[in-house]
Symmetry: C5
Subunit: 223 residues, 5 copies
């Protein structure tokens, strides 16, 4: 099964099956699984994650679902346990239809990771539907204005952070996945903190778990 337009995006968070025993992870097999995915047209980004939620993030983007599924199986067979994951697809949102073509292409077919942005962050996000703040009951023009305010806030960090928002309504527990590549952890914190005061986030944003770490090749992570 292939994507007609855009890419399918699989975020995997993984830990060694036996963290106390470095020989239990077959690093060679893990690297081979990633290379096999790349040969089938996937981009694969890897990061070392801080904390208990997973030692390693593998973010893979590609047009073919089977290649992503095989990557997951290959990493499991190399002795890694998938502790969390997120499924989404690249998209041009309904608020971004009028953007110039090269910007639309960058959303549908991003080239990752960007240069000089070693800090990695992922979190899922939904829009609220409660009595006080129901995004889906708000008229389009109101939502569009809030998204424009939100975009302006974000653009203050242009050059410091690259943000990729992928759609997951119907595909995973939240409605969007947000992947950030930043110059540093401070930048990541500053962006997300600043945006939280925008109406779109302050009143309507609901956030899942945050995964944060540093881009690294797989053999560095398990060195």
């Amino acid at each position: 099964m292939r994507m007609e337009t855009g890419l399918c995006v699989l975020h995997l968070f993984l830990s060694p099956r036996k963290p106390h025993d470095p020989d239990e992870t077959d690093r060679g097999a893990a690297v081979a699984a990633i290379q096999a995915a790349e040969q089938r047209g996937c981009q694969v980004v890897t990061a070392a994650i801080l904390g208990h939620k997973g030692d390693l993030a593998v973010m893979a983007l590609g047009p073919e679902i089977e290649a992503l599924r095989d990557l997951q199986t290959g990493l499991q067979r190399a002795g890694l346990v998938v502790t969390d994951s997120y499924v989404s697809i690249t998209e041009v949102s309904e608020y971004a239809k009028g953007l110039p073509e090269h910007m639309l292409q960058a959303r549908l077919y991003p080239q990752l990771p960007p240069e000089g942005k070693p800090a990695f962050c992922f979190y899922p996000m939904s829009k609220r539907r409660d009595g006080h703040s129901n995004w889906y009951a708000a008229p389009y023009d109101k939502r569009l204005a809030m998204m424009h305010e939100h975009g302006s806030s974000g653009r203050k960090f242009a050059g410091q952070v690259l943000q990729l928002i992928t759609g997951s309504t119907g595909l995973d527990a939240y409605e969007w996945g947000v992947t950030l590549f930043g110059e540093s952890l401070q930048t990541i914190k500053d962006v997300v903190y600043t945006l939280r005061f925008d109406e779109a986030s302050a009143l309507y944003g609901e956030f899942g778990d945050f995964y944060v770490g540093e881009l690294a090749y797989l053999d560095q992570i398990f060195a």
Copy 2:
């Protein structure tokens, strides 16, 4: 125990007991468990799932509860762990009583999987009962009108997606199970995103975990 009308539906999400060791899953025994269920009148649909929530979905529909229970045991004995599940039954909802007979039959006795729709999605759903939006305190005519709006939205995707809604009030944690078969993951996302703006979803919908993947035979999944 047999169903008098309609079918009992068991969604099982499974992972190998030892994902790092392909020889630990007895594929032959798993296939045999599915064939035994089919010989007892069950339809069995299998899909490869993306992410950490389970490697495999097995959706079984049949008139006899024991056959579904034995399928579950057979898959466990083949070395698969049931990581999540959902129990529901096919139904004609109170808003659909007037439909033509062949449509009622398609709800009570669906023929699955449909042709040309390899993308598989399952999620459970309830209707809200809070101070602002209480579905069960709304009058029937109001609920019927919302369901008709919802149905109209869904029909825009006719041909691209087959949707099966099964009832689970009193049987599992949510009130309905929703199974979608789509042409692609984009279609799945587009349908669910579009429907979320309907009043029935925007104000009253509560959703559980989403499972998404691709239809595949069991021996493909563990190849």
Copy 3:
């Protein structure tokens, strides 16, 4: 420690410690643990459960706490893992004081399982205490009227379903446990769905996990 009036009720949901290996469960020891409880005055009902939350339900009622505790230990020693449980006691609710004596006795000392009702369902339930709907801040007469409406709805299913409501405020996570014995899964769904429109449920009901399956002897379940 003995109950002065009524019975203590222990619902245990269990799975084999090694579901892939039928020889790891000592069926003889499990049956012996149940028989020992029966000899100490307990009623023990067993059911095969569908799905991942447990393969087996053991519902035990008796006047002596130690006998229930020993049953739990005996089942664990037979190789079963207690995946969930519920502790409650039989009661005559404050809304049922005026009932005829034989109905009070049936609530305090039920005879289970009833004939011809193979479908088994258990779920815990509380009454809401929020700003819009606070059961415990509502006056007694209002609560009594809602309970009478609720009782009338339930009586439409008399003969098709036997319902046992046991009290668990202070004993477990919810305020009541509800055990249903029905003619079929459809009946279970119809009852719970119908009752959900009653004010007592629509505005005030909060429900935990639902366990559903079919009455069966232990040796059938692990055949």
Copy 4:
């Protein structure tokens, strides 16, 4: 580190590491760990718990944190797994300052367990802080009046139940721990159910998990 006034209270809920194998728990080592704590000035109460949340409760009170910590380690080394826990300290609440000295002493230095009250119950509790009911935004006099009403309700059960409320704001997930010793499970249920109608509970009470069982010596529990 010692308490200047009052005692530190550690509730541990434990299960055997291998519940199917009675020889895996070193009962002698577990008893020795409890005796060692007692020799360092701790009171230790043990109870057999019903259900899946833990087989055993160990409630220890003492002036020295290290003695409680060593007790925990000793029980783990004896083959018991700590499945849940609660950390609190004895206190005289701000609503109880004017009580006679012997009552204050009984709160700071309780003598446990009381005679003739074999039913054991523990649950944690907080006061709500939401838009409708914000305990911490209510004036002191209003809170004091509610606590007096609550105390009056509780005193109707004097002699049947001993209640110990210990403070845990900043120490554990809830703001107080409640330990009840009752004549029977019915008494426990009657007290907690009755108090739930008090304004302090109906509008402001939030409750965690309930643990219920029967006082017993460790060697009885694992007999």
Copy 5:
């Protein structure tokens, strides 16, 4: 990847992989992992934790992310399991910009642990965004006034407690991490209880899990 200003803070909560077997934890390797982090410019604080959420806290602060990540790996390889964690960075909040330079430095580059404060407490915290209390929709002056009230309450405990608040918006599940070093557990409880009545906490505070224990060297903890 280095911090430009301030320090990255990693709280790790850990338990022995086999708590029943003291020889399974390689204490020497754990101590060596901490010393290696210290040699790379990290401060490392260790504490014995009470209860089931983890036996040990390791709080590490340093300018270099890799050093923190390697510390985590080193502890895992010594046989410790990371049961929970928190990622944050030191910060000067927007309400503290005008403070004297030495106070700003103490927030960005704290010297830990302080003398004479053996009680250790950690919890994460966010500010509410709901219909009644939305911190991020409140104007800056209102927020500043609330923070000043909050600061005044806290200063009543000056000398008894050292508080470090680190920022984690975009980095972990809550928006701030709070680490307290106190003279005793009573002090910890008194501070947090007192502050809860401030408007900033009563109306806007949301708190995660609390970890509490006593500062200790690693070889004391596993003695």
